[in-house]
């Protein structure tokens, strides 16, 4: 950056560069409302969407990954979620926040994916859980588990996997992503009271599981 500033750039080019850079900086600093507005303009549509993906991709990826465990499945679902967002953003009425809307799409995709998995192989619920547990074990076998903190983390992830899918969503959003119950209510379309009860029970079950051995 310093090098670029010190280089001698022709005056005209320098002007264009600084203009381009200022547009870029402005777009990068855009909040969700402005991003949506830019998306609705044909000229800035692709660029605004690109920024939106960059802004939310990691949160969406980790939200999905905690549900489906496998990276390849998460990759497919994450792409699918953003393609759905591209299709639906034109009609997004901004009654909810952009990130809760994205989380809503992501959560629905995860639940649909897991339901499909159960139906496709005619498997009862615990078999899909077993499959996810196997994937979790294969991930952790690639990591070095010498640190006590990581061992507890693995135990925690195994305990979370024992929860029903919707309760897992609630727990992950509250515990890992610090999403408020009100926002979660927007995402899942469930009352705040029911979400609080669900989280409370999830914590109890997980702590019981962690203290079993």
């Amino acid at each position: 950056m310093v090098q670029l500033q010190n280089q001698s750039v022709p005056k005209q080019a320098s002007g264009a560069l600084s203009q381009k850079r200022s547009v870029k900086t402005n777009l990068e600093e855009l909040d969700d409302k402005e991003l949506i507005a830019r998306f609705k303009e044909a000229d800035t549509r692709n660029y605004a969407f690109n920024l939106l993906v960059r802004k939310y991709q990691e949160r969406i990826y980790h939200h999905v990954r905690k549900m489906v465990i496998d990276h390849d499945d998460t990759d497919d679902l994450t792409q699918e979620i953003f393609i759905k967002a591209w299709k639906g953003l034109e009609n997004f009425r901004e009654e909810s926040q952009l990130f809760t809307w994205l989380y809503r799409i992501a959560s629905n995709e995860c639940i649909t994916f897991l339901e499909k998995k159960k139906r496709r192989f005619f498997l009862p619920i615990h078999d899909v859980k077993k499959e996810l547990l196997g994937k979790l074990n294969s991930i952790t076998s690639n990591k070095s588990m010498h640190v006590t903190g990581e061992e507890i983390e693995l135990k925690l992830q195994k305990a979370i996997l024992q929860l029903p899918d919707k309760q897992r969503l609630v727990f992950n959003m509250k515990y890992f992503d610090d999403i408020t119950y009100e926002q979660m209510s927007e995402v899942l379309g469930t009352s705040v009271g029911a979400l609080k009860a669900s989280y409370h029970h999830a914590v109890k079950k997980i702590e019981e599981s962690l203290n079993q051995e």
Binding site: F49, V53, Q79, I83, E153, E207
Partner: protein
């Protein structure tokens, strides 16, 4: 006594599931590429979903198997009948206690399509039988 683990005391680790190196750098382009791609029209987009295809295939298999079974039983009946000589049939009819009304029923059954009444059959039989003049005289 072993210390009880409390969730709130644990350090939250959001990076337990890490993505492969460089994954997030390439993801936006990957998504853009998929968005710009012209839609491939799948076969089931024309109302031929895999669910329906499976149902149609099962029905077709049932139809073929059922048809083959019916055809083979019909053939075997015809084959058995063709193996019996006319002489054997005649002998069976003469020796066994075959009632006339049974024969009549069989005749009616086989000529159902022709819609002939019992009376018409009797008339036909009378006309077809060679009647001796002596028999007529005896009757009169």
């Amino acid at each position: 006594m072993k210390k009880q683990i409390k969730l709130e005391e644990l350090n939250k680790n959001n990076d337990f599931f890490d993505a492969p190196k460089g994954y997030f750098e390439g993801l936006p382009q990957q998504i853009q590429k998929r968005i710009q791609q012209p839609k491939k029209q799948a076969v089931w987009q024309f109302g031929f979903s895999p669910k329906y295809a499976l149902a149609i295939a099962s029905f077709a298999i049932l139809l073929i198997v059922g048809g083959k079974f019916l055809f083979s039983t019909q053939n075997s009946e015809q084959q058995i009948l063709s193996e019996i000589s006319e002489q054997q049939i005649r002998q069976y009819l003469l020796q066994d206690d075959v009632q006339e009304h049974d024969l009549m029923d069989l005749y009616l059954e086989t000529t159902k399509g022709q819609e002939k009444s019992e009376e018409a059959i009797i008339t036909d039989e009378i006309l077809e039988t060679e009647i001796d003049i002596d028999d007529i005289e005896e009757l009169l």
